[in-house]
Amino acid sequence: MKIRTRLGPYFYILPALIIVLVFRTLPILSSFTASFTDYDIGGFHGFVGFANYARMLSDARFWQSVLNTVFFVLGVVPAGLLIPLFLAMLLRRKLAGKSFYRTIYFLPVVTSAVAISVVWTWLYNPEAGPINQIITALGGEPLLWLREPRGIFEMMLSPLGIHPKGILAGPSLALVSLMLVSIWKSTGYNTVLFLAGLENIDESYYEAARLDGAGAWGTFRHITWPLLSPTTYYVLIMSTIVSFKTFALVYVMTPPPGGGPLGTTNVMVFYLFQKAFDRFDIGYASAISVFLFLILLSLTIVQRRIAGKRVYYS
């Protein structure tokens, strides 16, 4: 009886613990150790120190994937904050059709990334896709969308005779097309989060502002924005992590091999996936994983540092 009560709690936790240890903790720790080994399709070939990391530093395709990921995050995260914040501001307060709007905005969130990617591949199709048809009907030039390797700044500036090269050419139109889908898919989710955040703000603050004669902008600037900051901070971190993890969109819309035209949609997760499962280069893929993890970790810490000073917890 005594033993039963002493061991009791562990029986409750055991099923979950086994799964977590074997399928979360163990592979997480292994990816750190594997990054220091030569591990491929033939199995384990011994420890190699930092060789995988050294290889990473001189791998142009890897750095391209880092740059593409940075472009992707810088494009998706701000838009994924501002558009939903704007929509949530419109949707707060009593409004006819509020739940109808919410349903529509939320549809892309529950739809699978694969199905969405298949649909958007068709929408973007250069020959017969609806987007180019509309552009042509309006008298514009059809675009290559997912097959366009040229950077968007290059495309915008070249008619003016300016030809930016390298990073200055910007993300390829193919990558921008993926960003648009990603923004489209996450808008509803972030809107709902902001809406909940807005509804948590006590109405008395607004009454006080009204009595003080504050205008709409002043009210937003001095009440809504600071009191909403925990939500904003959460959305910021979540969408950063989600953007870094993007895989299904890239994989389905710009399928392997390659990662898009001239590798311009090759993002980090796609690259490590290819290394791990096409080449079965587990050691090298693990080094990329660790690098990805360290970036995410440091971003979270930096965001927390910055936000820690500014986020207002009521």
Binding site: P15, I28, A34, P108, V110, V114, W120, L193, F244
Partner: protein, 263 residues
């Protein structure tokens, strides 16, 4: 409707203008999808897509995996959360932190070693690989724990005096008091499991183990220029979750929000 002053009316009109514009942008891809799926052959596109590759099999696989995953999560997560929330034992806080820490690491980071572990277990290309690793979910444990902590201890003491065992108390008292959380956990895991792609893509190879998302992705590669069929397949792959969503949308939206606002 109460009469509005012109300024309020203009403001709400402007709001609706932007919201409708946004709504059209959200809906248009879905409308195009359905529209294209009906071009040429009409509904026969659906029959052709359905029979060209074994989509029926993919559906059943997805359903099977989703059901067992959700059942597994409910059992393991509620048990673990119950011990975290109500029992005192050595290592409890450490274990809870260990669980939470795994949430910090995104799945792609440990995908390759997971594959190696599954290979060592001989589970590659089996239903085991699709189901077992996902029969617990740390976030669900967290949700359950937060809720279980709110149930008053006096209830437990009274039940024990009545000769109720710990497991019986969980089953008879705690879980019936936790229906909203249970629904949240179920919905979350249904959506997660139904839409999961990277994992099943990696851990299965044979066609008869394909889940819907993987099947659709292969179909997309094989039929890349057959847009009517692709849109038909996308439509019927999307419909089950959209219907589920329309039925319980309030709850789903609340679940997603809960995930965001709680801590």
């Amino acid at each position: 409707m109460i009469s509005m002053n012109p300024k309020t009316a203009a403001l709400s009109l402007t709001k609706h203008f932007f919201l409708i514009l946004g709504g059209i942008l959200m809906l248009l891809p879905f409308l195009w999808m359905v529209n294209t799926s009906l071009q040429g052959g009409g509904l026969s596109n659906y029959v052709e897509a359905w029979t060209k590759v074994p989509f029926g099999r993919y559906f059943l696989n997805t359903l099977f995996v989703t059901l067992l995953t959700v059942a597994g999560v409910l059992i393991t997560a509620s048990l673990a959360a119950y011990s975290f929330a109500t029992m005192k034992y050595r290592g409890r806080n450490f274990l809870f932190l260990l669980f939470l820490s795994t949430m910090m690491v995104p799945q792609p980071v440990y995908l390759a070693p997971s594959y190696v572990i599954l290979a060592k277990l001989g589970w590659i290309n089996t239903y085991m690989a699709l189901i077992i690793p996902w029969t617990t979910n740390v976030f669900s444990i967290f949700l359950f724990r937060q809720h279980f902590k709110t149930i008053p201890k006096t209830l437990y003491e009274a039940a024990i005096l009545d000769g109720c065992g710990r497991l019986k108390y969980l089953w008879k008292v705690v879980l019936p008091l936790s229906k909203p959380v249970i629904v949240t956990v179920i919905l979350f895991n249904i959506i997660g499991s139904w839409n999961s792609f990277m994992w099943p893509l990696v851990v299965t190879h044979s066609e008869n183990l394909r889940v819907l998302q993987v099947g659709l992705s292969y179909f997309n590669q094989e039929q890349s220029s057959n847009f009517e069929l692709l849109m038909a397949a996308s439509t019927f792959s999307t419909i089950p979750l959209v219907i589920l969503f329309l039925f319980v949308q309030k709850r789903i939206v609340a679940s997603y929000t809960r995930s965001g606002i709680k801590d």
